[in-house]
Amino acid sequence: MTVSPRSTHLGLDLSDAGPHPEAWRTSGSEPHRLFDPERLRELVDTAQRATLDFVLFDDAFALHTSRNTTLRGRLDAALVSARLAPRSAGIGLVATVDTTHTEPFHVAKALQTIDHVSHGRAAWQVAWSTSPQVTAAFGRKQVQDEADAVAEADEAVDVVRKLWDSWEDDAEIRDVATGRFVDRDKIHRIDHEGVRFVVRGSSITPRSPQGQPPVVVRATSSPARAFAAHQADVVRIAVTDRADAAVQRAEIRAAAAAVGRDPDEIRVLADVLVVLGGTAAAARERLALLDALAGDARRPDGYAHVGTAAELAATVEDWTVTGAVDGFVLRPAALHTDVDGIADEVVPLLRAAGAFRDTYPGTTLRDTLGLARPASRYASAIA
């Protein structure tokens, strides 16, 4: 084992063909396999070989707002995670699920089930929607602004966490003598009566291996940062450089402490767009080709690494050692190219430097992230 205080956490974004909208048009992309679960399984295998903390799938109820010449079409991320669970081990599976239009009861049991199927490797990236298109697709609410949608997401996470706690770990007793399958004193109604939701509970699904799968939040705006500080186990930040990352991490930790949380129970990961090349010039050429296909240089906000694997490994180590971040969400510009580069070049360099694990420390994603397994809030009420 090479876990050390200098060890970083690495997630891998496997959404679409990569975050660059033209990623599917470059050579090797196998566009006919973009919705093929075996293609995803191969990518997860690679990430697992590199002992990355987790893979992540974005999702939304709307089609991408891009031209018809760019990749469009999405599969339900929770079901994709479930599909990948039996054919993987060790690696976390982060599914994005919306809170603006999805019932918290459905979210809770879906994530618990992925956690059961994967033996404790599920996580939930919380999404919200301010899109008029999605509002029209559901046709039962008014369009919400971001502050409103985030406030609703915050309450939805409350409801879901209560449902996750609603069964104590040892509720199933199978007591043949009395004929009782469960001890019903260990299954709790949540009786949530909030601003947006009134949900009785309990969950239909027994408590899952992680108790509560980790909650991932992208802190991309002021309301989202406050929400993340309040609710997230893993916070994704968009940063410009190391100093910016350090400032944001400190702010999130301070905001979490201010609402009574232990900042050491939060992992702050910086998003980084990854464009690898044998030389820095080759990487820049790859990016220029993608931009030329798009006709402009649209790409995700935030830090981009356009260069060699060695340079990326050095950046990851530097930002981690200096405490600017707890790790990174690597966003390979083109999955079919950059995932291999991350697994076969970047990770071995980090391991050699003692900056990354070479095995999984336990069986669950919480083990990997170094996050404690929460006790059910209702268990203490009984004792």
């Binding site: 599917w24 566009p31 679960p37 010449t69 760019t70 469009r72 054919r87 999805t102 559901f138």
Partner: protein, 456 residues
């Protein structure tokens, strides 16, 4: 040349939250661990069954205001389990029960399209229509749906889902690096749903997932005839089955449907033995396991509407009168009787005449039949039902998790194969292939047709 035999269709029901699952047996495994689901699904696929069937519950059952703890409690979420099973099976159909009242069409259409893509064309949706406020208390809209509107909403939900599945042409994903996907917008405005936009999920291999439906009322039969590909029926005795079969199939021609476009598959159980006597004894033991003493009392309480815990399950029936007003003593499952008084009178008479204890009586009145005998006898019976149109096959409901169908799959299925009544190999990759169902016309043509029809 002999006339080809009518083919038997078989599904495997995963036993979970119901009064027939025996959890007290040492051989009873977990109803949550994925390994249990994987075992049943893999063994069903090895036997070339048509599909794996998963039920759903959206609230834990309650009895006298508390969680009902005498049967299995708790289950995983339907669709993630099926998506995971898609990874460990190649051909088996994957049927998920999803409520039409507590889901929105955009979301559920997307989930089933995804499952169809992730499974290579093996997805099916069993539509159930519970509208009750008890379940609704877990959802933000609450128990909003009047009982009489449940099929109206279900029909509209399915119509919208179909329009969304049809909004992508089969070849919408061009995979041409110079080109790209082009889609067409879908719009739908109806009494329950106002849905417009571009659907984000590609059309699955089956075009539309297969639709199952289980309603038994006249309205339910009409809905099935108009909408379903498979009816999951509870009519498992021969004459009852033939009557139901004829009634539902006779509704099809007026709707422009062929008889074989709708399969009727009753749920049934199978108890095997080396001899008829041996099987009958095993069936008797299983019934005793399914109806425990406390379980028998709880069953009577559902009918009486009063607390009967003071009574001995091995003693005579309660001498108190039922409380007619207390209809909600058990919530989260279908009630057994509407008016308890004549039922109680009849049961008292029967118990007295046959000298039955409470438990004996409950065993007698809750027995639903099923096939009991040697493997040869059971194969004969299954084949007889199918050849003589009492059903198109069966959904096999075991009483044990997860090994409850092992013996049936190992002995009865090969006998059906020897007779030429059951496939030895899958004919194609999709569930539609297994069931002999046409693939719906693709995208634009089908949607243009739907635009002309009133919905609901």
């Amino acid at each position: 040349m002999t006339v080809p035999r009518k083919q038997v269709h078989l599904g495997a029901h995963f036993p979970g939250v119901n009064s027939t699952t025996v959890w007290t047996e040492p051989d009873s495994g977990s109803q949550i661990d994925f390994a249990s689901f994987e075992h049943l699904a893999r063994s069903a696929e090895d036997a070339r069954l048509d599909f794996f069937f998963l039920a759903e519950g959206l609230r834990l059952r309650e009895h006298k205001g508390e969680i009902f703890d005498l049967d299995v409690v708790g289950r995983p979420d339907t669709l993630p389990v099926l998506a995971a099973l898609a990874a460990v099976t190649d051909r088996l159909g994957l049927v998920g029960t999803i409520n039409t009242t507590f889901n929105e069409p955009w979301e559920v259409a997307r989930q089933f399209a995804t499952l169809d893509v992730l499974s290579g064309g093996r997805a099916a949706w069993n539509l159930v229509t519970s509208p009750d406020a008890f379940t609704g208390a877990n959802f933000r809209r609450g128990g909003f749906l009047p009982y009489e509107q449940r099929y109206e909403r279900a029909a509209e939900l399915v119509a919208v889902a179909r329009a969304l599945w049809d909004s992508w042409d089969d070849d919408a994903v061009l995979g041409d690096r110079e080109g790209g996907a082009f889609l067409r917008d879908v719009e739908h405005v109806g009494p329950h749903f106002q849905v417009r936009g571009t659907f984000p999920t590609p059309r699955g291999p089956q075009g539309h997932p297969v639709l199952f439906q289980a309603g038994d009322s006249g309205q339910g039969r009409d809905f099935a005839a108009a909408t379903a590909d498979v009816v999951f029926s509870m009519h498992s005795t021969f004459e009852d089955g033939r009557a139901f079969y004829r009634d539902v199939k006779d509704r099809l021609p007026a709707l422009g449907r062929r008889e074989d476009s709708l399969k009727i598959l009753p749920a049934t159980s199978v108890v095997l033995g080396d001899t008829a006597e041996d099987a009958a004894e095993r069936a008797r033991v299983i019934r005793r396991q399914q109806v425990s003493g406390p379980g028998a009392i709880a069953f009577l309480e559902q009918v009486w509407g009063v607390d009967l815990t003071a009574y001995d399950p091995d003693g005579p029936l309660p001498d108190v009168e039922p409380d007619v007003g207390n209809a909600d003593i058990t919530r989260g499952r279908v009630r057994h009787v509407k008016d308890p008084r004549p039922v109680v009178a009849a049961w008292r008479a029967r118990a007295e005449a046959e000298r039955l204890s409470i438990r004996d009586l409950v065993i007698a009145v809750t027995s639903r039949g099923g096939f009991v005998g040697t493997p040869t006898h059971v194969a004969d019976e299954i084949d007889r039902y199918v050849q003589q149109d009492a059903s198109d096959g069966f959904i096999l409901v075991p009483h044990l998790t997860p090994h409850g169908l092992d013996d049936v799959l190992a002995t009865v299925v090969p006998l059906l194969q020897e007779r030429g009544s059951f496939r030895a190999e899958y004919a194609g990759p999709t569930l539609r292939d297994h069931l002999g169902l046409d693939r719906p016309a693709e995208g634009r043509a089908a949607t243009a047709h739907l635009d002309q029809q009133p919905v609901g």
